[in-house]
Structures are given as C-alpha cells and as structure tokens.
C-alpha cells in the first residue's frame, strides 16, 4: 500500500524538489527566494524598524507584521489582486507561526515587516511561505531561537502522503499543514482541512514533521551557502 506511486511519480513520503536562496534582494534588510515544485515565492523582511502605527507597538518587545500576497498571474485563472479572506488568514497564521521563534525583547517599540509574494502557486504556498520567511528573517540578522519550517501532509486516495501538490490538494480528502521549530520539535502552526481518523491524523503529523526536518536542512544549507567564505 505505502509503495504506491503518486500522480506525479513521487513516493508517499517524498517531497517535491526544493530550491532555496537567501539574500536575493538589495534593498530589503533580509530576503529569500524559494521554489518547491511549481511554487515560486519571494520574501522580503524589513526591520526591526520604527513604525508610525503606534497602536500596534509594544513597550516591552518588538512586534511582527506579515503580509501574504498572491500575484494576479500566480494561478491559472487570474487572481483578483488585493487582500482577500484567504490571504488575510494566511498572513495571520504565518505571523503567529513565526513569532514564537523570534527574540525581539531587545527591540522594544519596533516592528518587523515580512512581505511574502507568491509569484507562482502550485499547492502548499502557506508552508512554503513560512519556510522562506524564516530564511529571510535569519538573513535580516534578527535574533531567533530557531529557524521555523513548514510542511504539509494530507490524505489522497485513502493514503496519507507528504507535501501535497495542487491537484492532490484539490482532489484529496484532507490537508494538514504544520510548522515546527526543528531543534525542539515544537509545533507553531497546525491546521487541518478535511476528514481524517485519529490514526491518520497522527500519521499525517509524523509524516509532516519528517518532511519539515528535511526542508530544515535545505534552509540551513541555503544560509551557509550564502555566507560561508569559501
């Protein structure tokens, strides 16, 4: 059963090919570019910086603000530009997923802005966005406890599989995106969409954790590659 080959030729626990690059933008304080399968995502980080939106600032710590945005040409049908319900939700959960890793106590009254731009989308953009955003945060030199990484698992054709593609996401029975801090294994994001039994859910989380660990290595590699002297 678990030896089944998926629609795009992957095994049940196989990730799509991933490419991560850190520090791709000149003007931003930190940036990252990520490709996973057909997804192309660009993230820019600014800050910690002064903000004039005083009501958002905290006197004892820094705050983060996140904007997830899909380009109009990122999907098959043109996506109507501007924020919508879906992107507002993803903006919020991304900020919440990244926040526990950040150590902004030394930057009170300041704000870190994260801009996630989806240039092309092919399923799993929220996890890819989190993965890329944390690389960009590291690149910006922001103190962090760990590099957060996101990955999804789901159920397709009654089989729990890793890293759903767009087709699998649409035709599948369930989608469980998670984000973790790989050193401690703490979960910072957990969503579940669709029907799963208790065992299947547990299996999906285990599988997604495993996927996260693999992606985490690629994140570290990308950062090391950018800054090692050789």
């Amino acid at each position: 059963m678990s030896e089944m080959i998926r629609e795009d030729g992957r095994k049940y626990n196989e990730l799509r090919p991933i490419k991560i690059e850190a520090g791709v933008l000149e003007r931003a304080d930190g940036s990252a570019y990520l490709e996973v399968g057909g997804n192309k995502i660009l993230v820019a980080v600014y800050g910690p910086r002064e903000s004039y939106i005083r009501r958002l600032l905290e006197p004892n710590t820094g705050v983060i603000r996140c904007r997830y945005n899909m380009a109009p040409f990122s999907v098959d049908d043109r996506k109507r530009p501007g924020p919508d319900r879906r992107s507002s939700e993803i903006s919020k959960i991304t900020a919440d997923a990244l926040r526990p890793a950040l150590m902004l106590e030394n930057y009170p009254r300041s704000m870190v802005d994260i801009y996630i731009e989806v240039i092309e989308a092919e399923g799993g953009t929220r996890c890819a966005g989190i993965t890329a955003a944390s690389v960009a945060l590291v690149d910006a030199g922001i103190p962090m406890k760990d590099i957060v990484v996101g990955c999804a698992a789901g159920k397709v054709n009654d089989e729990v599989v890793l890293d759903l593609s767009e087709v699998e996401d649409k035709e599948g029975q369930a989608d469980v995106p998670i984000a973790i801090m790989p050193r401690t294994g703490e979960i910072t994001l957990l969503q579940s969409d669709g029907d799963l039994t208790e065992e299947e859910f547990q299996k999906a989380i285990d599988l997604a954790m495993e996927g996260c660990m693999k992606v985490s290595e690629l994140q570290k590699e990308a950062l090391m590659k950018k800054y090692s002297t050789e």
Binding site: D29, R49, P59, R109, A140, K145, T184, L223, S228
Partner: protein
C-alpha cells in the same frame, strides 16, 4: 562539550556548547545547551561564547558617536534619524544652553550632524548632544551606509584600514558607530571611497582584507599595484609558504588584535574624528593633534592588558609567531 570552533559560521538555533561554557551576546541558553540566536561568526574566549552578527541594526548606546540626519524641527528639539529602529532627539538646550533662538535657522531638515548619544532611556529613545570635540554639522560630502557590525572592520587594526583609505584618496572620512560614514573629498575620490567601503562591507569576514583593499586602491589611483612590498604585506603573504599550523597562529593573532580593536574602537573613532575636524577648523592645530594622537598609548595598553588577562598558550604562540615572522623577514631580505 563544545560543538563549534572559533570563527565558525553559525545560524540561529544551532547548538554551540553544553553547560560548561558561558553564553555571551548573540547566544541563549535552553535546556542546558548554549545555542546561537543569530547568523554570524563564533567568538570564543575564556569559555565564553559569543556570536558576532553578520548583519544588525544599530541600537543606541550611551556614549556612542553617531552620524544623524535632521528629520524634523519641533518647538524645542530636533528629530534626528540615526539609522536605527529608534529615532534620536537633539534638545535645543544641548545646542544653545539657556539662550533662545530659532531652531530651523541653526539646523534645518536634511542637515547631517555628528553627534554623541548622551542618554538612552528604557524604551530606547536616544537623547543626543553636540558637546565634545569634532561634533557638529557636516558641510558637503557624501554619506555611505554600512552595517554597524562592520564598523570595526572598516576602521581596521589601530585604524590601519581607515587611515590607509584616507591617505590614498585624500578624503576626509568620519565613521559613526551607527554604520553611517561621511566622506568628503574630490568627487571622483568620493565615489571611489564609496566603492571601497562597500567592498569592505561585503568582504568583512574574509582575511587579508587590508591588503586586498590596498591593492585595489593603488590600482584605481596610481594605475598600478604597489611595487615595494612593505613589511606588513610581507607578513600577511607569508603564511602561504608556511605550513597550516602557522596559518592558524596568524589567525589567532589577528583575532586577538581585532578584539583589542573593538575595545579601543570608541577612542579610535573619536581621535580620528578630532584629527579630521580640527583640519576643518584650522591647519595649525592639526599637526599637534596628530602628534598627540600618536603619543597616546591607548591601543597598545589595551592590547597588553588583554594579553595579560588571558595568559594562555594562545598568547605564547602569538608572540612566537611574531618573532619567527620578523626573523624570516630579515633573512629573506638579505
């Protein structure tokens, strides 16, 4: 137990050592392990682990000298942008004393000033002042910005890097600790200096940088590489011929000096500044000032103190490698 070596590149969340080491800046302790919180280079001394960040934002600190730009003129103070998440304020009192004058006639929006941070409150608001030698408004010139963590590298050991650039380009250069650099000279030279400073920023974590910059400067200004090899160059080039061990020793030595440099950095900037500004004011004072600066044994004292503090094998090695290098230099010159 330690898992990394000195000068290694580390990333956030990477485990650096167990409980028997002390966590310094850029690290944190969790479950008896010391982890890095930044992307940067490890600095290991006396069982204390620090991570020197590759990039950072300037957080105002009392006593720093910074370059700031007037952002706004208010009733009794100026708002100053100091290239930081926190804006600085320059109270009119600091400039006029008890006199009452119109603020925008003295400094207007867009003016660039060299200031001292006289106080930072608990929410990091920086109060700035102009009391001190060399502090005041810049006339003309360009501003180059670099990461504040790269400032020590731009200044170099005992100011070697910055003085070399000054001499070669004939520019006046002032470095603020917030990562802003003011450059004034010929237009071509200003541009060249800007390029050079950016090169230093990008390659700050590579070794033998002073030499590389020197060659680049000579090539751009004189149109040729320096013909005569100076002693300094020779020492830096030598490890290529030697075995790996000596290379390591060389690195150790560079590091110890760099550490001393960071300590001396404050005074360094000030003194460099005093030279510069006095040149602006009157030429006569300049020579005296320079002499004074040379006579001051600050940097040597700091280095000596540091060496005494860490009477370890490392330091013995250092002095040893020093000697061997000088000897072979003499030998080779024959």
């Amino acid at each position: 137990m330690i898992y990394v070596e000195d000068k290694n590149l580390v990333i956030p969340g990477q485990i650096l050592a167990d409980d028997d080491y002390y966590p310094g800046r850029g690290t944190f302790k969790e479950d008896g392990k010391i982890c890095s919180s930044l992307i940067g280079l490890v600095s290991l001394r006396n069982k204390k682990i620090r991570v020197i960040p590759l990039k950072s934002k300037y957080v105002p600190k009392k006593g720093d000298v910074v370059i700031g730009k007037i952002n706004d003129v208010r009733f009794s103070m100026w708002d100053v942008d100091i290239n930081s998440p926190y804006s600085g304020i320059l109270p009119a009192f600091e400039v006029f004393g008890r006199d009452k004058k119109e603020l925008n006639k003295v400094y207007d929006v867009g003016d660039v000033l060299f200031l001292r941070v006289i106080d930072v409150d608990e929410v990091k608001k920086a109060k700035l002042g102009l009391k001190g030698r060399g502090l005041g408004k810049f006339k003309g010139g360009i501003i180059v910005d670099i990461s504040p963590t790269k400032v020590p590298r731009l200044i170099g050991k005992k100011g070697s890097m910055i003085n070399m650039i000054k001499n070669k380009t004939n520019c006046k250069i002032v470095v603020g600790q917030n990562g802003l650099v003011w450059v004034k000279g010929d237009e071509d030279m200003e541009q060249l200096t800007r390029e050079i400073i950016h090169t230093i920023e990008v390659e700050a974590h590579t070794s033998g940088l002073t030499n590389k910059i020197k060659n680049k400067l000579c090539l751009a200004i004189d149109g040729e590489l320096p013909v005569e090899e100076t002693e300094e160059e020779f020492v830096l080039e030598k490890p290529k011929l030697q075995n790996f061990k000596e290379e390591l020793e060389q690195e150790e030595r560079e590091k110890a000096e760099a550490e001393a440099q960071i300590q001396a950095e404050n005074e360094e900037i000030q003194e460099a500044e005093v030279e510069e500004e006095s040149a602006d004011a009157d030429g006569e004072a300049e020579a005296e000032e320079e002499k004074e600066a040379e006579d001051k044994p600050n940097f040597y004292e700091v280095i000596e103190e540091l060496k005494k503090k860490n009477q370890t094998k490392k330091d013995k090695n250092l002095s040893y490698s020093d000697n061997s290098k000088n000897n072979s230099f003499i030998l080779n010159n024959r």
